[in-house]
C-alpha cells in the first residue's frame, strides 16, 4: 500500500468517505491512514463522535488489521503503530485503574476521540470549502478586464559612493602599465601642433614651409613623422577656420603656409 495509490483513490472519489461494508473493510487502498480507518469505523457506530465507544472502536480496528494480515495485505507502519497503541489503550481501559504515572485510560481515549473530531472537522471544512462560492467556477470576474496601461519610466539608482568607487576602481585597474600612455609620449598630438601653430602664427607673415613650424629636437624619426602629420592636420583645421592659407607647388612638393589677413 503506497502513498501513490492513496492519492489515486482519493482522486477517483474525493468527496465520499468510503463506508466499511464487509468487502471494503479489507481494502486498505481506500483509506488515508489509520485515523481515517478509525473515523470510518466510528461513523459506522452511527453516533456522535462525542459519545463514541473508544473501546469498541479499538476492537474494530484491531480486527480490521487482523483481517488485513489474514489476507496477507502489506500493512504500512503507521497502521501498525496505531494498532499497537490501541491494544495498549484497550488494556488500560479494561484493567482496573492503578495509581500509575501518566494519563489514565480514559484520558487517552478522550485524546483519541478529540483527534478524530479534529480530523472530521477538517474533512467537513474541506468539503464546505469546495462547495462554497468559488471564483472562476461559481462567480466570475470580468471576462475582458481592460487593465491598466503602464507607462514605464526609468529612474537610475546610483550613489555618490558608487560613483567614486567606480572612478577609483577603474584607475586602480588600469594600473601603471597603461599602453595608451606610452603611445602618448611618442606621439606628437594634433592639439599640441595646433597650439604651436597658433602661437607662432603671425611671426612669419610670408609663405613659409609648414615644416618650419615643427618643434625642435625631434631626433626620433617616429616622433618626427608624427609631428609632421599632426602639424598638417592642425594647419588644415586652421584653414577650415579661416586663419591660414595653405599651398603646395607640386606633387610631394613642400607645403607652405601663410597667415590669412582679415578681410581677405
Amino acid at each position: 500500500m503506497d502513498k501513490g495509490s492513496f492519492e489515486e483513490a482519493g482522486q477517483k472519489n474525493p468527496d465520499v468517505i468510503p463506508l466499511p461494508t464487509h468487502a471494503l473493510l479489507v481494502d486498505l487502498d481506500g483509506y488515508e491512514g489509520p485515523l481515517d480507518v478509525l473515523l470510518v469505523l466510528a461513523r459506522d457506530q452511527k453516533v456522535d463522535l462525542l459519545k463514541i465507544s473508544i473501546l469498541e472502536l479499538a476492537e474494530q480496528y484491531l480486527k480490521f488489521i487482523e483481517q488485513a494480515h489474514a489476507l496477507r495485505l502489506e500493512v504500512a507502519a503507521d497502521y501498525l503503530v496505531m494498532a499497537a497503541w490501541l491494544a495498549y489503550l484497550k488494556s488500560r481501559l479494561l484493567l482496573p485503574a492503578e495509581e500509575e504515572d501518566g494519563p489514565s485510560g480514559e484520558e487517552l481515549a478522550d485524546r483519541l476521540a478529540f483527534m478524530l473530531r479534529k480530523l472530521e472537522a477538517m474533512r467537513a471544512a474541506a468539503e464546505k470549502l469546495t462547495n462554497g462560492s468559488i471564483v472562476g467556477r461559481d462567480r466570475f470576474q470580468r471576462g475582458r478586464p481592460e487593465g491598466v496601461r503602464i507607462i514605464r519610466q526609468s529612474k537610475f539608482e546610483c550613489s555618490l559612493r558608487d560613483l567614486l568607487q567606480a572612478y577609483a576602481a577603474q584607475k586602480e585597474r588600469k594600473g601603471n602599465d597603461n599602453p595608451l600612455r606610452l603611445m602618448r609620449d611618442a606621439v606628437y598630438s594634433v592639439e599640441a601642433a595646433l597650439e604651436r601653430l597658433e602661437k607662432m602664427l603671425g611671426t612669419l607673415p610670408e609663405w613659409t614651409d609648414l615644416m618650419a613650424y615643427l618643434p625642435d629636437n625631434l631626433s626620433d624619426p617616429f616622433r618626427r613623422r608624427s609631428a609632421q602629420a599632426s602639424t598638417l592636420l592642425a594647419s588644415l583645421q586652421m584653414v577650415k577656420e579661416g586663419q591660414l592659407e595653405l599651398r603646395q607647388g607640386s606633387t610631394f612638393g613642400p607645403i607652405q603656409v601663410k597667415k590669412r589677413k582679415s578681410g581677405e
Binding site: 502513498k3 501513490g4 492513496f6 492519492e7 483513490a9 482519493g10 482522486q11 472519489n13 474525493p14 468527496d15 488515508e32 491512514g33 489509520p34 485515523l35 481515517d36 478509525l38 503507521d78 503503530v81 496505531m82 499497537a84 497503541w85 495498549y88 501518566g102 487517552l108 485524546r111 483519541l112 478529540f114 483527534m115 473530531r117 479534529k118 480530523l119 472537522a121 477538517m122 474533512r123 467537513a124 471544512a125 474541506a126 464546505k128 470549502l129 469546495t130 462554497g132 462560492s133 468559488i134 471564483v135 472562476g136 467556477r137 461559481d138 462567480r139 466570475f140 470576474q141 470580468r142 471576462g143 478586464p145 481592460e146 487593465g147 491598466v148
Partner: protein, 200 residues
C-alpha cells in the same frame, strides 16, 4: 456628507477595468485627493447589490463578481480547474484553518505522513506559502494560505472560512499535539511549546 458622483464613476471604472481585486490604498492613490473611498465603496456596493454583477470584498480587496445565483448561467465561462486529491484538499483545509501550521502538525491532524507531491500541488496552485519558522527545536517551517487562496475560494478573510468561529470555540483548531503515541514509537516527537514564530 455627500459623495462626489464623479468619484463614484472613477472607482467604478477602475474596479471594472482591474485585472485583480483592488485594495483601498490603490483606490486612494488613483482617485483625486479627498475622495472618500469607504463611502464610495459603500455606495457602489449598495448600487450593485441586486444587479447581475456585485461589488464584493475578497482578501480585503474589492472586485466586481457575477451574482452567486447566476452561476448556472455562466457554464461556458467556467474554468476547468484540476481537481485536488482528497489528501491535498484536506491538507489545504488544515493549513487554512490552523495557519501557521508546520508539516508535522498537518501530519498529526491527518494521522498520516504527508507525501511531497501533496504540498507541491498546493504550492503550484499558489494557494499556500511558507510563513516563517516555529521557534521550537528544529525550527520547522510554518505554512499559511495566500491571498490567491482567499480570492479563489471567495473569502474576504481567514475568519470567513466556513465554521471557523465554531471550530475555534470548540478548541478544534489548536495545533497542540495529542501526544497519544508518546508512550509508543513516536515518543521522540517534537514538543511544540508556543505559537511564537519568526516571520521570514
Amino acid at each position: 456628507m455627500s459623495i462626489d458622483p464623479e468619484h463614484v464613476r472613477m472607482a467604478e471604472a477602475l474596479l471594472f477595468a482591474a485585472k485583480e481585486p483592488l485594495d483601498e490604498a490603490t483606490l486612494v492613490q488613483r482617485l483625486p485627493e479627498g475622495a472618500e473611498i469607504p463611502a464610495i465603496l459603500a455606495t457602489l456596493e449598495q448600487q450593485y447589490r441586486h444587479k447581475g454583477v456585485n461589488l464584493t470584498r475578497l482578501a480585503g480587496k474589492w472586485t466586481f463578481l457575477t451574482a452567486p445565483d447566476l452561476s448556472w448561467l455562466l457554464e461556458e465561462e467556467r474554468e476547468t480547474t484540476r481537481r485536488l486529491s482528497r489528501a491535498a484538499l484536506e491538507t489545504l483545509a488544515i493549513i487554512a484553518y490552523h495557519q501557521p501550521a508546520t508539516r508535522a502538525e498537518i501530519e498529526e491532524i491527518r494521522g498520516v505522513g504527508l507525501s511531497r507531491g501533496t504540498m507541491d500541488v498546493l504550492f503550484e496552485a499558489g494557494w499556500i506559502r511558507p510563513r516563517g519558522r516555529r521557534r521550537t527545536p528544529g525550527r520547522p517551517v510554518t505554512y499559511g494560505v495566500t491571498e490567491d487562496f482567499l480570492i479563489h475560494f471567495g473569502l474576504d478573510d481567514i475568519k470567513d472560512l466556513p465554521g471557523f468561529d465554531e471550530m475555534k470555540a470548540a478548541g478544534l483548531l489548536s495545533t497542540e499535539p495529542s501526544g497519544i503515541f508518546n508512550d509508543l514509537a513516536k515518543a521522540e516527537e517534537d514538543e511544540l511549546e508556543d505559537e511564537e514564530e519568526e516571520e521570514f
